[in-house]
Subunit: 446 residues, 3 copies
């Protein structure tokens, strides 16, 4: 919690959200075609495109490295893959969609009859035109993902199958960027970088956080802001294993994924349930959206699972628009660039920015004239004509700050108690502070 | 919290509520025509009428006296006011309604064109036949309040304006009455005395509390009861500034305003939210009215604002019928004697009286036979024929007191837990006490 | 709370519930015809039939013995009773239904006119074909209970009345059975034995607990299980007076009555409200029934009244199907063997058994790999193909145990937090324990 002096002195210039939404969508479109997995060159190419915006560090952790209970796996790369029928016609080609190959498939080059091939084919009977997304990170296997309409129409006969992939010693790659503020206390933002051509999940999160980091370069902040772009599960486990000494600096954290569609928004609380990030995000979404969904923590989901494991128990929540696995496009080829839109990316960014404003500016005021109400009128803070029905609302935020400002409640507490947006209560506090009526708790009477 | 001995020995005779309702209405009718403001002779005349019922002290605090963050203003008095048109015809006359002049208007005597006059006219376009109530306590100004139908029909031309008022050094006047009980602990009742001819707001509160104080003269009470009749905001601030040493004696407090209309009732909790007054009032209203409104504290409203400022934080709530500013008559000439009725004043008084009964008689019982149920039957406290479906209800209140009476819960706690009215639980406790089955916690086993 | 070692080592074999339901109904049918009261041979005959299943102790406490605030009354026995009209025709005969005579009626042999007789007749105008159940334990009186249709049709004239009963020094009789487990901590089950021919109230409870006790003979348990069959109110008061030194061993308790009808179920919490029995029963009923009713404690009801008196305050709740006094058959001749059914007795037993499973097996796990998630896949605990929408559910229970298993939450806590049945969470904990990922809190790392 900062002092009022801090709160007053730094300049927290907000992004132009409309323009930012368009730029995020454009970056997501650049990232979309790349075939990412939990390791491999797809991650490196992705980070290279993001580094055009922020000069982030790229870490390579060798195959075989022990990280917490896990081991860095072999690196997977793929050049080509196809299925050809007996006549030599290519019926499935990785070049058309990287979703066609189950991620981490071992190399294959063989001819096999349809019955055998079927054991390696994934399709969605209920969504017969979509390619599903499947992985096999932790079991040596291979597979193709096809629209069910195509899979079910395959003729009897032999098929030539090629997966020109490599699984070999290499590294796990992740990107990390730190915006230094006045304090070493950190706000951690993270997005998973391991999914191939799925636009919402998570080109949206990668692009949004990249441009947020870029914007912060021009802003003086109180907190430091750390950005982590790493493959799901194994990425945060690797980062936590390598950075355990520093995690005590994390005051707030947010996993950002699937923030480009028009649903939700959905916020899943940290394991603590009442961390400041949980309260701030709930506050912001409640005031900014019609029907936000606030979920208690549960141990399935995204990388908050690792940050919120009981041995770390960090104040890290998850922000999404539609909740994962609840919409038909989820983990299919329908999660494409048409599924995400600049205006949704913009409003997601705006919600995040408002939470940043709370993290930066929340403090605990103390009323310096706590006995009775101070006379606002002679200080120019109150309408001079009494009896007007509308008068009260104008002064209400100031009255809340004065009444609740006993040195035990933060501005966020007061905003919640008053049912008013944080920024309205903040503005009232700023006016009262200027008039010498309140000070930050702990600061001297000025 | 008193002991059972105390509870048993004093006589808390209730008023005759029907008769009291009629008498309150009659006193309100006497007070109605007087032009009150936050200072001046209207307050003195009002207190003189109230002193026919109780011999209260009248305090005069000189203009310029510093009270907390405020200063006692100049005293305002008004003899006459009018607007005449160019032909010399009086079109607005203070003698017809004291609402016509904005309270605290500076003296004016001039001729001015309609366009200039309009800057000083208040009216209500949505309620074109009503005169609004307006004040200008803390800014030097003047104004007339007119029905919108009349204001909008004013012809072009010059108007003669007279406000024969004085704003001069004098005093702020307030009345105070103390009914002494066995204890110095106090129950504070207060009503604002500053509004002119508005019947509900607050001739109703002034009259009700005056006759409550009068009734208490004949009653032996445990608590002392303090009554304060002072102008809104500046009145309690003045009283608090002059009586700070004694406020620790205030155990319960109630601001009473607008208690004569047929709406509500509305109780606004003290800032503490769970003071005994808050719990008692909620309990009483829940059992006595169909749909009472219970509001959490908020820093706008009546004089609870001052008592509940963070430097005092007294257990003072607000009782009203319809909540202020939510009904069309609020702060208009429609808040007249037809808007209030004896039966509503009676039921408001009855609710207050039931809260007094709780304040006087609540205590923490201790079951002297806590192991198993004591045999009520052989003590004549239980129906002798078992199996009867109705039997249980009769004994239920006694069973609740015995079961919950472990010395940690008051009768009010038990009444709330049982979902029964306090007086039913009190009667059960009296029967059990008479049978020697319970004692007051802290008292010896009798 | 046991350690995992305990939890793993004992064998908690469940009854065959369908077969048990039929056997409970058959035993209830054996008990139904007997004329029981709070004392007398009816209780002894009932216990004798129950002792064919479990070798329980039968205690006889002499008339006049002081028990807490009560005194053991004289023993009541009845051989015959009738009303004959002037023509000598028997119009009411105890031999047809033991409900015809008010329980504890003094001996009577006299001739009296209808007007006098009526003072001793109970009937139900709203249920004219049913015989009511009435008692007069604590007042010397006598009465007959008749269908209202019959009572209202009685002709004028004299009637011969006979009640061939005795009220004499004797004893109060109760049965008690203890199944010894590894620990002296006890689970107390109790049912009232004082009602005559009422099938649900409480032949059902007596029969169910008798066969539960019989089943436990073949089961190794951690807890000891005490069964008490005693007359309502005076029975538990007698038992508590004689066993006060040992009541600290009671960890959980359940009053079982009216468990054979198709309504409810209804669970009334102990006075504590959050005892483990309260939480376990709520958990089990919520997962096993459509619309269970959970009631807070109130001081009217069954023998939980005594166990939950403030001087004992034991964790004892009440399990019923339909709540007492809410169904038309209650305390009438319609509470007969047709009103209870084997399937309802079976599902009542099953709910009780699931609570026993929780009492036996609940413990507090500690995640031995608390930093990040341990890799379930390489331990064979996780589906190997990622991306599958159904995958998560399979592993969810394990993830909950790992995430919440910080040594402060029991499996029941975790089940409640996860919204999953206890047995699913228990199975997950068993798998994780086998894989070496969790241990019981307090146990060494294995």
């Amino acid at each position: 919690m900062n002092t009022m002096q801090d709160a007053a002195s730094h300049e927290l210039i907000a992004p132009d959200f409309v323009r930012a939404g368009a730029r995020i969508h454009a970056l997501a479109a650049e990232l979309f075609p790349i075939c990412r997995s939990i390791t491999g060159d797809g991650v490196r190419v992705t980070l290279a495109l993001m580094r055009r915006h922020v000069d982030m560090a790229v870490h390579e952790v060798p195959t075989g490295t022990q990280v917490l209970d896990w081991t860095i796996p072999r690196e997977w790369n793929i050049r080509a893959a196809h299925i050809k029928d007996a006549s030599g016609r290519t019926i499935v080609d990785f070049a058309n969609s990287n979703l066609h190959v189950q991620s981490y498939s071992v190399p294959v080059r063989k001819t096999l009859p349809l019955a055998e091939l079927r054991k390696h084919i994934f399709s969605l009977p209920d969504q017969p035109d979509l390619i599903p997304y499947r992985t096999t990170y932790w079991a040596e296997s291979w597979g193709f993902c096809l629209p069910h309409r195509q899979a079910s129409a395959l003729a009897e006969g032999d098929y030539d199958v090629l997966i020109d992939s490599t699984l070999a010693d290499g590294a796990l790659t992740y990107g990390e960027y730190l915006h230094r503020g006045a304090s070493e206390d950190e706000f951690l933002f993270t997005a998973h970088i391991c999914h191939p051509s799925l636009a919402n999940d998570n080109c949206s999160g990668l692009a949004l956080l990249t441009l947020l980091a870029e914007h912060l370069k021009g802003v003086r902040t109180r907190l430091s802001y750390r950005f982590l772009f790493s493959p799901g599960t194994i990425g945060p486990i690797t980062w936590l294993a390598r950075n355990e000494a520093g995690i005590g600096r994390i005051r707030h954290g947010l996993v950002v994924s699937g923030v480009g569609d028009g649903g939700g928004p959905t916020y899943k609380r940290s394991r603590r349930g009442d961390a400041e990030i949980d309260r701030a995000m709930a506050h912001v979404l409640k005031h900014a959206f019609e029907r936000p969904t606030l979920m208690d923590f549960e141990p399935y989901g995204y990388d908050e699972r690792q940050f919120c494991s009981p041995g770390f128990d960090l104040p890290v929540g998850l922000l999404q628009r539609s909740r994962f696995a609840t919409f038909p496009q989820y983990h299919t080829s329908a999660d494409n660039l048409d599924f995400i839109a600049p205006e949704h990316l913009a409003s997601s960014l705006q919600a995040i920015w408002r939470v940043i404003e709370i993290a930066e500016r929340n403090y605990t005021p103390r009323n310096l004239f706590p006995k009775g109400e101070p006379q606002l009128g002679r200080r120019g803070l109150y309408a001079s004509t009494g009896g007007d029905k509308e008068g009260p609302a104008k002064a209400m935020a100031m009255l809340w700050v004065l009444n609740q400002g006993d040195g035990t409640r933060s501005l966020l507490d007061i905003a919640e108690r008053a049912g008013m947006p944080f920024h309205v209560i903040l503005a009232a506090a700023q006016a009262l502070s200027k008039a010498g009526l309140i000070a930050a708790q702990g600061a001297g009477r000025d």
